[in-house]
Amino acid sequence: MSDVEEAVTRAHQDEWARVVASLTRRFGDLDIAEEAAAEAFATAVERWPADGVPPNPGAWLTTTAVRKAIDRIRRENKRDDKHKEAQMVYDNTPPEPLGVIDDDRLRLIFTCCHPALAMEARVALTLRMLGGLTVPEIARAFLVRETALEQRITRAKAKIKAARIPYRVPAAEDLPARVSGVLAVLYLVFNEGYLATGPDTDPVRHGLTAEAIRLTRLIRALLPEDGEVAGLLALMLLTEARRTARVSASGELVTLDEQDRGAWDKALIAEGHRLVRERLAAAAAGMAPGRYQILAAINAVHTSARDIRDTDWSQIVALYDQLVQLDSSPIVALNRAIAVAELDGPEVALAAVDRLADELAGYHAYHATRADLLRRLGHSQRSRAAYDKAIELAGNTAQTANLTRRRDQLR
């Protein structure tokens, strides 16, 4: 990559969201902001090789985008009155509570992740408007047709305009619920990259985990006091740190107990651990941790152990007990049972897993867990049947490969 290309790529990563956000505020219209930002970057690609990279790429891009937006509005002059009418609601009062930074990007995040939009639309809008991913990129990552995705984004933008979804940081009393809505979008993006229903090694999918981390870092910078933001970032980092160790050279999923811990990314783990320690200190000071903070703490225990046998299982079970209080879903109960197997043995765990039969009969991990526990208890035949069921339900090829090998190793 040439220096100029690199500068364009870097500017795109660093400045895209800022340009879209500041234009959205100025023109009160997501469509205009998105299109003008895209045109500004296209102009940069054309001009920078000849003119050189400007000393302040962000300012150059914003100025260029503003000019493009004004051109477009002039072209559509006839619709000027209509346009004014359709302007988004922009609340100019600076948000004071919780040390919230008054940043246009924060307004943009809350608009894109508004609860009045469908979840798929929130994901698509967030990746397009904040992440700067193109429509074909997002479509490929989520295995949907480009036209369908384009429609999804267009409809969401139209609803934002017609229903007057505001462009502002929510009031202090609404902030925790709205932040948790934003985090749900980012976690979904991350998981889609991490547990993709296709080959794990697909680079576009890795793009999704990286993008989710980048956006979570951004929100962390904007809302540094929020414990759940820190928790989700730590959870993503500690999960991402194990990514390369998680799939073998032959494309098979490697479970935690068999992973080469030397291949884990030490820098990501150190950063994740720092965040978890920060939240532990807050918890000690009386701030009850939320779901992501607890999940991050569980992952911190795993990534602190040099060997699977060094794992502090009682600590992990205690954290799952805490999580069950917040989230009574059967999936949490299943994960707790997996930890219980290490602490109290497979028989106790199997009893707990069997109680989830009604709720989780269609979930591959339920059958995979049962298969493993039955194997450890020496019930080969029943274990084989459970592996068969898990293989039938698993969508991820790396996972299927792992389950198949384990089944075929049964005696």
Binding site: V89, H114, P115, A116, A162, A163, R164, I165, P166, P170, D174
Partner: protein, 107 residues
Amino acid sequence: MQYLVSVIDDESSPGSTDRRPAISAFNERLIAEGYWVFAGGLAGTDAATVIDNRGEQAVFSDGPFVESKEYLAGVWVWDVPDLDVALKLAAEASKVCDRKIEVRPFQ
């Protein structure tokens, strides 16, 4: 910005019938806060008549234009600054009416 706020009832699990005092109190508040434009409860859908005069002669037919388990039980029109305000009030309205609420902007 005005929104049509529809109260939706469901034949298979109707909301409770003792909501009138609570709704009146809620209306008082909407008026005091300047959001209230209009409110009205509707008679049952069996009292509805559909008129179609697009052809040569007006045709009257008995019953609602769409038969469905869910039906409109009443409406509000609110004038509020944006959707966030509307949704917050609608969340209260759903509790007050013990029914689902649809919020839809006027053009």
